[in-house]
């Protein structure tokens, strides 16, 4: 229909503090795309072309407003030497971390994204998507922040212990993880994607506010300021409960915050003048809830998010479950697309 904005246009306005016709509708459709496309998860996370085709197929089916390049948060740690276990029906999980004693830290290197591990899967996926639809759809590459990669290099429990018992070693792992993230971000940007930084291990569900301030936040700051030098608008996604650290999030410099288990009104109050909010229908509610419940929740979220002064994106709090029934996701998207700002051109 003439006069209708496309996703690229809508996001473009949001990112320069303009009001689009309505908030972009961008549920985090990641591995769920494999289910739509009909491929197994091992293929999805190891073949960039398949990941791209699956993403494009899911986007055609649902009409959500962005493509997501994501396998799992261990992608950098694996390229640096940790071993991951691939599964046919779920995303890879950490099998064997590369660091089992601190002497190994100095041997770590920031991997070459073109030739190491599965990093090139992302680059192939981005390249294919960009060629196919980059003029209309923004492409987001989900890149783990240092804290999460460090946990993948050392093992989650060991790394959390390090933050208490061997903080210098923890920082050394974080430093090299940061270098790796920067290198990977650069490659994704050159392929045509905007980085979305994910730091699930830095969640209030896993660590304390103090640990976040000392070990996660400073590296988020460094990574975001590196990307800001290129004038890129950066989304920070932290899964789980972030309600006790919402006031700290703006310090990271993130332009958008994708929140999971925190109250949207609280986030609006804490950071709405500075940060665009992305959220936050609970992904788990997409499984058991009725069409009506999803629709009601989406309406509630929209009414809370739309007033955010810096802007709002309707999304899920975390990844759409692999086995989500399409009608459930469609319910969310349908309601989202009926929303509107009181926009007078």
């Amino acid at each position: 229909m003439p006069g209708e904005m496309n996703p690229r246009e809508r996001w473009g306005l949001l990112l320069i503090d303009e009001i689009p016709d309505r908030p972009p509708v961008y549920p985090l459709v990641t591995a769920h795309a494999a289910a739509v496309y009909g491929c197994d998860l091992t293929t999805y996370v190891t073949n960039g072309k398949v990941m791209a085709e699956a993403q494009l197929a899911a986007q055609r089916k649902y009409g959500h407003e962005g493509l997501s390049v994501f396998s799992e948060v261990g992608i950098i740690a694996e390229a640096m030497g940790s071993r991951y276990h691939y599964r046919q029906y779920d995303v890879p999980i950490l099998d064997q971390p590369i660091i089992d004693n601190h002497n190994q830290i100095e041997k770590l290197q920031a991997p070459d994204p073109g030739s190491t591990g599965r990093l090139s899967v992302y680059l192939d996926a981005i390249d294919t998507m960009y060629e196919a639809a980059g003029d209309i759809l923004p492409i987001f590459a989900f890149i783990p922040c240092s804290f999460t990669t460090a946990a993948g290099l050392r093992g989650v429990e060991e790394f959390l212990m390090d933050t208490v018992l061997a903080p210098e070693a923890a920082h050394a792992i974080l430093d090299i993880s940061l270098q790796a993230a920067i290198r990977f971000c650069d490659a994704c940007v050159l392929a045509g994607a905007l980085p979305v930084l994910v730091d699930p291990l830095a969640s209030g569900s896993v660590i304390s506010r103090r640990t976040y301030q000392e070990f996660a936040l400073p590296y988020q700051v460094k990574l975001i300021s590196y990307l800001h030098r290129y004038d890129l608008d950066i989304t920070l996604h932290v899964c789980g409960d972030t309600s006790k650290m919402l006031d700290l999030i703006p310090q990271s410099g993130a332009d958008l915050f994708s929140l999971d288990q925190a109250e949207l009104p609280q986030a609006v109050a804490e950071m709405g003048e500075r940060v665009r909010l992305v959220g936050n229908l609970s992904p788990s509610s997409l499984l058991p809830s009725s069409h009506q419940v999803i629709s009601d929740c989406t309406h509630r979220i929209l009414s809370q998010g739309i007033p955010n002064p810096k802007g709002f994106v309707l999304s899920t709090g975390c990844e759409v479950p692999i086995k989500c029934q399409p009608e459930k996701l469609q319910a969310l998207i349908q309601v989202g697309k009926q929303a509107h700002y009181d926009f007078q051109w």
Partner: protein, 460 residues
Amino acid sequence: MIPAKQINYRQWHELFKEIPDERVKNTRYYHHLPDAEWSQYLFPPSTHAVYGNRLLRKMKFDNSPAALRLWGFVLSESERIYRARQAGMKVVAVVGDLGAITPLVYSFPDTVAFYPDCLWWTPFLMESRVLFNEAGQLGMGEDCCFVRAALGAFSKRAYFPKPNLIIGTVGATCDDMAAVMSGTEFIGNDVYYLELPARDTIPGNQQRQLSFLADRYREVATRLEAVTGHSFSEDRLHETVGKVNLIRSLISEVKDLAATTGPNPMGGMEMMNVEFAALSYYGDLEECTAVLGAFRDEMKARVEQQNGYPDQPLRIVWVTPPADPILQNYAEDLGARIVGSEYVINQSTPALKTEGDVFENLAEGQLAGSLMGSSRFRVDLVVDQVRRAKADGVIISGIFASTHCPYETRPIIDAVRKEGVPVLAFDVVAPGKKQLQSQINNRMEAFIESLRMRRSRRAG
């Protein structure tokens, strides 16, 4: 001095790391506003590619910081216009007059102008048919010049803010642009029309025309008073004309430098960006002057030191702006360099008079435009460039189905051939038509190869 080179977007992404942080931070527009991060614009092409300007991944760019600054300034124009409105400035869209009215607009405080017509290169830059499809849905299809992208942009409401005033110049200008204006009005925008007389060369008629047009400009000034809330000031217009003349002289100087007999000091697309700055100063008159000043300094130093691109010996005059920026890159890759151009905006480069009636001076500038009046005028402009630049060949990149430019292609070809200079003329292919594009590439290859052989034959 760093050797002049054309590099790709990957190389600029790396090279950008060497640019000091302070320089990145301090390269800003709208200096009269409080320091805001959004006003920085010194960023590499990769930044703009991520936001959908896909062609940048295929293009080559000059490797100087001055050229990067120019690109950053040009590519940030859309955001700049939005920021202007957010900061409370008035935004005036000027359609169809190509540079004549903007000094008047900028003479009003806190007022900026932009040319929606210039969106015609957006579909090429994004390798996208979105704006053309939008215009098509509104009844303007492939039987209109690429300038129809502007109608698509008006309809989409996502490429520039709603202008406080749209000034549409009609009459002795281009029909395609006039059609875009009426389409714009049709979808609900108020257009303030301004009638241009055709250039008349009969001596007695000239003064009459001048007075007629000067009166129209007086009316525009009154309209601008209503829109901006400021009264017109002749002193401010004088001051603005002084600044505009500085920009115009910088452009002329840069064009002369590009025609040097030494190695090619600059890329054709950078040169085109410089030339088009004459239209609306890309939305910030002061910063535009600084950008062009730094660019001129770079070129001057290069010419003095014979620092240019190697392997581009063949001298080309380019006629009609190539909506598709990759075309000039392609010619350069094949060994050509752009030593002259006729982009239908030549009237926006000569200095405006500063003595006498301010409105008549503006009118005189407008009446020198190659868009209006006989084709002979434009033909002579091209021939003059060919002679001055000692061109080996001329490339005319026409626009399929447009009503204006194509009619001048034939007489230009005839006149240039009479000069003994070969000409290649083709229609630029809209995005998404790969096979047609490869035909154009073949023709360019053959043409440039023939120029090369001609040269070596002449050399003995």
